[in-house]
Subunit: 267 residues, 2 copies
Amino acid sequence: MTMKKPPLFIIKIGGNILDDENKLQTVLEEFAAIPGKKILVHGGGKILDRLATQLNVPQEMINGRRITNEETLNLATMVYAGLLNKKIVAALQSRGANALGLTGADGNSIVAEKRPVAEIDFGFAGDVKQVNTEIISALLEKEIAPVFCSLTHDGKGQLLNTNADTLSSALAIAFSEKYNVSLNFCFEKKGVLQDPGDENSVISEISRGVYQALLEQKIISNGMIPKLDNAFSALAKGVKKISIGDAEKLLKAIPKNENAGTCLIGD
Amino acid sequence: MTMKKPPLFIIKIGGNILDDENKLQTVLEEFAAIPGKKILVHGGGKILDRLATQLNVPQEMINGRRITNEETLNLATMVYAGLLNKKIVAALQSRGANALGLTGADGNSIVAEKRPVAEIDFGFAGDVKQVNTEIISALLEKEIAPVFCSLTHDGKGQLLNTNADTLSSALAIAFSEKYNVSLNFCFEKKGVLQDPGDENSVISEISRGVYQALLEQKIISNGMIPKLDNAFSALAKGVKKISIGDAEKLLKAIPKNENAGTCLIGD
């Protein structure tokens, strides 16, 4: 007899939500309404950029990834783990969701390694090496929603800036042994678009086969490719369901057990 | 038959330690070496002041308490809950102490109320109303050291700046039902001084009776009075032992079960 795994919802929200106070509050309201076990993951690059400008700390991005020198890491720690994480946690508490904010250093929950310097030196950027599920599981069992910001550590005292999409995937994969994990990537579009110029051309389902065909037809935009590669890899590693799309639509669909945005389908 | 309560060490570190990287690392080394259950509490006013200067946010203190307008609260959230809290947690992890950083909003662990406006409007300053011990206890049971920064919340979505000394006392009182709590206030002097001009005139023990006599003789300095009032109140509410003094000496004394600095004695 196999036990049915309980559901776990992992929601990643991005800069477009974090930067819009009204939108953020609506999204947190929807997140609080999700029944059962759930984890929120957030970045905050846009707010970091603003603080960096105020403090005259120049920012450099290569292939959409931030070069994280020591000064920028300090700003990221202030903005992601401090300002945004605690505002989110306090707001969730006021909505009846018992939340607890974390970086990967807290409870040693996500260990990463500093990205090796190849052609580009990304500085204090970390690639996830290991997720320790014990503490997070204990929180979930107590009906607490962990709220992760996109920072990890190397276990040797160094905090590392880690892409929030890959951090979400790493969590989803690690918890798929114990839970039926539904991973939701909220972003500024309604889903993966058939026609990048038409906001309403959302492809409702993409299997790995369809993905290959779309890649060959060059329908998938360059910015979308790492997100989808990352997602299909997570599906192959046991994640049950992955959705990509508009935050409010994705979150509203969860309690109704409906699909929204683009659903990715494993093999 | 009464069960003997297990020990719990609560250590509050102040700005003079947080602002000195070498001293901080030494103190964290000592904290990591404390056997058993322990909680670290920190503020970070000096680092907040520096960021406020860089960002041209004027700071105002009245009777040693900060006036916390919205902008200052945001800076405090960045510095206390972000930069300092996560640096401390990552450093403790590298020293083999599994730590987890918290504000009072996390896990709804410390609820405060905004200080009523009387003669002075302290802004978003919070006075502790309730400590919810369940989540913190669960962490302690898992041999995790909670690291609290001096922020709480009102349960209605508002973070509040809370004095780290009173936050430490509130934790100590709340946990004294279940634990033999030893509360350690680390500060820049070796203890309460008989002669403020002589660093080595530390009074090794002060009972409530002696405290009254010292007050009448005007030996206790004005800055020290709220700290000691606060401490004697915690002793009256069940805290087992309170020590005040130099961080390294206090922390080194704990594993040896010795006294250091000034020990306050309850009735």
